[in-house]
C-alpha cells in the first residue's frame, strides 16, 4: 500500500501488537485520541485500554514505569509527545535505561522503545523543534534510531520493538506526512546498526539522517545538474553507528560533507569527522566539512528558516568541498 510515515508507523505498531501480546503502548493522549500526530490511531479501539495506556502527564514516571514493565517481561513502547518534553525523564534514561543490563550482568534488561517526534521545519511552538539526538548517542547501552522514509520507519520500528536493547526512536516530524511510498503490508524488519546508501555517486559523500535526507537528496540533484555526482548515506541507526558503510564511501570519493540539523558544537557530525580521521585520513582529498544548525536556541517560526538547513545550503557546502 501507499503510505506516509504516520501510516507506516501506525501499521508497524498495529501488527507487532497483534503478533506479540507483550507489546504495550504507553503515552499521553495515545488512547482514544490516537496520539497528537495520530501514530497510535485506532489501536485503543482494537486492543483496549489495557494495552494502549493513557498515562498521567509525567515523563519520568512513564519512562520509569516502562523500565519496570520491560524488566518484568513486557515490551513497552512509550510515546513522549515531543522530544522537547523528554527531559524530565532523562534521569531514568541515563541512570537506568542504558545501564540496567550492565549493572545486573544481564539478569535484568529493559527491551523497550521510546518513540518521540523531533526536529524543526514544522512551524511549531517553542520546545517543539530541537534535535538533541547527540545527548542520547553518548549514553552507553542505548540504540538510537532515526528513520527517513515510510518504508524504513515501519521496518526500523518493528526491529526496535524486537530488539533486546532499549531503543530511542526519533521520528522527524517534518517527514510524517511529506511523502507516500510503497510500504509492504506484511511484517518486515529493517536491520538496526546498518546505514544505507540512498544515492550512489563518485565525487563526494554526504552523510545525513532523518529530515536531512530529503534535503541532501535535493542538493545532490542540483549538484548532478552541474556534473557533481554525490553519494548520499542515511545513517538510520545513530548508535551504535555503522561506520563501515560511510568509510567505504569515503575511500571511494575522498570528500565528505556531514549534514546535521542539530547545533554544530559536539554534534554527531563532529564524531563522524573524527572517525573518518582515525580510519581514512589518507583517502581524503579535503577536510571533512559540515553543514549544521547553529549554536543558538532554535528560532520561532518567523525566523526559523535562518536556522533550518535548505537544499541550497547543502549544495553550497558541496561546491565548497569540491573547490578545496
Amino acid at each position: 500500500m501507499k503510505a506516509n510515515m504516520v501510516q507506516a508507523l501506525n501499521q508497524a505498531l498495529f501488527q507487532e501488537m497483534e503478533r506479540d501480546g507483550r507489546v504495550i503502548i504507553l503515552g499521553e493522549d495515545v488512547g482514544v485520541d490516537g496520539g497528537v500526530f495520530r501514530i497510535t490511531d485506532g489501536l485503543f479501539q482494537k486492543f483496549g485500554g489495557e494495552r494502549v495506556v493513557d498515562t498521567p502527564l509525567a515523563e519520568s514516571g512513564m519512562i520509569g514505569v516502562s523500565i519496570g514493565m520491560a524488566a518484568f517481561g513486557l515490551r513497552p513502547v512509550a510515546e513522549i509527545q515531543f522530544l522537547g518534553f523528554i527531559y524530565p525523564g532523562f534521569n531514568q534514561i541515563i541512570s537506568h535505561l542504558g545501564r540496567l543490563r550492565n549493572r545486573t550482568r544481564g539478569r535484568f534488561t529493559a527491551p523497550l522503545v521510546i518513540r518521540t517526534p523531533y526536529g524543526a521545519g514544522v512551524r511549531a511552538l517553542e520546545h517543539h523543534s530541537e534535535s538533541t539526538e547527540a545527548l542520547f548517542v553518548q549514553i552507553p547501552g542505548l540504540t538510537v534510531v532515526v528513520p527517513s522514509s515510510p518504508y524504513d520507519a515501519k521496518g526500523l520500528l518493528i526491529a526496535s520493538i524486537r530488539s533486546e536493547d532499549p531503543v530511542i526512536f526519533l521520528e522527524p516530524a517534518r517527514l510524517y506526512r511529506s511523502e507516500k511510498q510503497d510500504v509492504p503490508d506484511e511484517l518486515y524488519e529493517v536491520p538496526l546498526r546498518q546505514a544505507k546508501v540512498v544515492r550512489e555517486g563518485k565525487d563526494l559523500t554526504v552523510i545525513a539522517w532523518g529530515a536531512m535526507i530529503p534535503v541532501a537528496m535535493k542538493a545532490a540533484d542540483s549538484a548532478g545538474r552541474e556534473g557533481i555526482e554525490a553519494e548520499v548515506i542515511d545513517l538510520r541507526t545513530l548508535a551504535p553507528m555503522d561506520k563501515e558503510t560511510f568509510l567505504a564511501s569515503v575511500k571511494k570519493t575522498g570528500r565528505v560533507l556531514v549534514v546535521q540539523e542539530a547545533p554544530k558544537t559536539c554534534g554527531l557530525a563532529a564524531e563522524i569527522a573524527a572517525l573518518i580521521n582515525e580510519s581514512a585520513l589518507l583517502n581524503l582529498e579535503a577536510p571533512v566539512m559540515r553543514v549544521t544548525g547553529f549554536d543558538i536556541t532554535i528560532p520561532l517560526p518567523r525566523t526559523e528558516d535562518y536556522y533550518y538547513i535548505s537544499p541550497e545550503r547543502v549544495f553550497a557546502g558541496m561546491k565548497k568541498l569540491m573547490e578545496f
Binding site: A58, G61, G64, M69, F72, L74, S163
Partner: protein
Amino acid sequence: MLLEKFDPLKNEILQILDPGGAAVKDLEPAILADDLKKIYALMILTRTADQKALNLQRQGRMGTFAPSRGHEACQIGAVFGVRKDDWVFPYFRDLGLYLTLGYPLSAFYYYWMGNEAGLRSPDDLNIFPLAIPVASQIPHSVGAAMAAQYLKKKIAVVVTFGDGATSEGDFHEGLNFAGVFRTPNVFVCYNNQWAISTPRSRQTASKTIAQKAGAYGFPGIAVDGNDVLAVYAAASEALERARSGGGPTLIEAVTYRMGFHTTSDDATKYRSEAEVKEWEQKDPIRRFRTYLSNKGLLDETFEKLIQAKAEEDVEKAVTEAESLPPASPADVFAFTFKEIPVQLKEERAELEAFLKEERK
C-alpha cells in the same frame, strides 16, 4: 484491619512492641515461634554483617558503604512476608532486606567492594538491583506491578526508600501512577530522620509521610520502624491487599539512622549526641530480644549460638567475596548491549592491546 485503625492524619502510629519489649496483646501478629526466631537471627546477622562491612571499609578492603545499623526492624519486617514470586525494589541501605530474601551475603559484599557482578540477583530471586539515584526505583516498581496486573499474576511488588526520597519527583510520579492504576505495590519508606545532613523537617512540612498516600487515593500507615512486629504486621496486610487486587499501600516506618550516611560521612557535624543516645534506647534488636525471652523462645545458649552462626556466615562471605578473581577487561564491555557492537569490539581490543603492552 490495621490500615483502618491507625490514621496518620490523627498522628496515630502502630506500635506493637514498646522500647522495653512489652507487647500489645491484641495486636500481636500470628507468627510461628520458628519464624520469630528466624527474624531474630536475621537481625543479628544483619547487624554483624553491617559492622563487618564497616570494619572492612576502615581497613581499605571495602568501598564506600551505606551502613544499616538501626534499620534492622524495618528492613527485615518489610519483606519477611514476601513470597518467592513477589518482586522487590530495594535502595542503597538495605542489607537486612537482602539477607531476609536470601540474597548471598558474599554477592552483597562483592558489589560494595566495587564489582558489578555482585548486583546480579540469583535467578530465583526477583530482587532488582539497588538504586543509588534517590527515588528513581519507585517508578520501576510501579511498572513491574502494572506488568503483573496485565499478566494477571497475583503478586505484590515492594519498594523501599528513605525520607529524603519523598521530596523527589519520582516519588510523586510513582505513587501517582500507582493510585491511578491501582497497582499491587507496597511502598515502604524508612523514615530515618536524616538524608545525609538534611533533617526530615526539611523534606516536607506534612506531619507524617504516611498521610501523603491520601493524596494519591490509597491508604498510608505510620508504624514504629524499630518494632519489627509492627513493620511485619503492616507489611503483611499491605502485601495481602496488593495480591488480592486491593491496590497500593504506603508504609512509613519511623526509625533512626544510627550510623553515618555512608562511610564518607561524619554525622557528628550536624546532629547531637543526645539525639543519637535517645534513639539508642529504642534499639530494634534489644526490644525484640526481650520480647522473645519473655516468651521463652530465647535463652543465653541460643543467643550465643545465633551470634556464633552469624559471625561464621559473615567470615565465610568475606572470604568468598575477597577470593573472587578480578574481572577481565572483556567483562566490562560484555553487558552494555545484548550483542557487542563493532565500535565496542574495537575499544575492547584497544584496551587489551594497551594492557598487554604495559605488562611487558
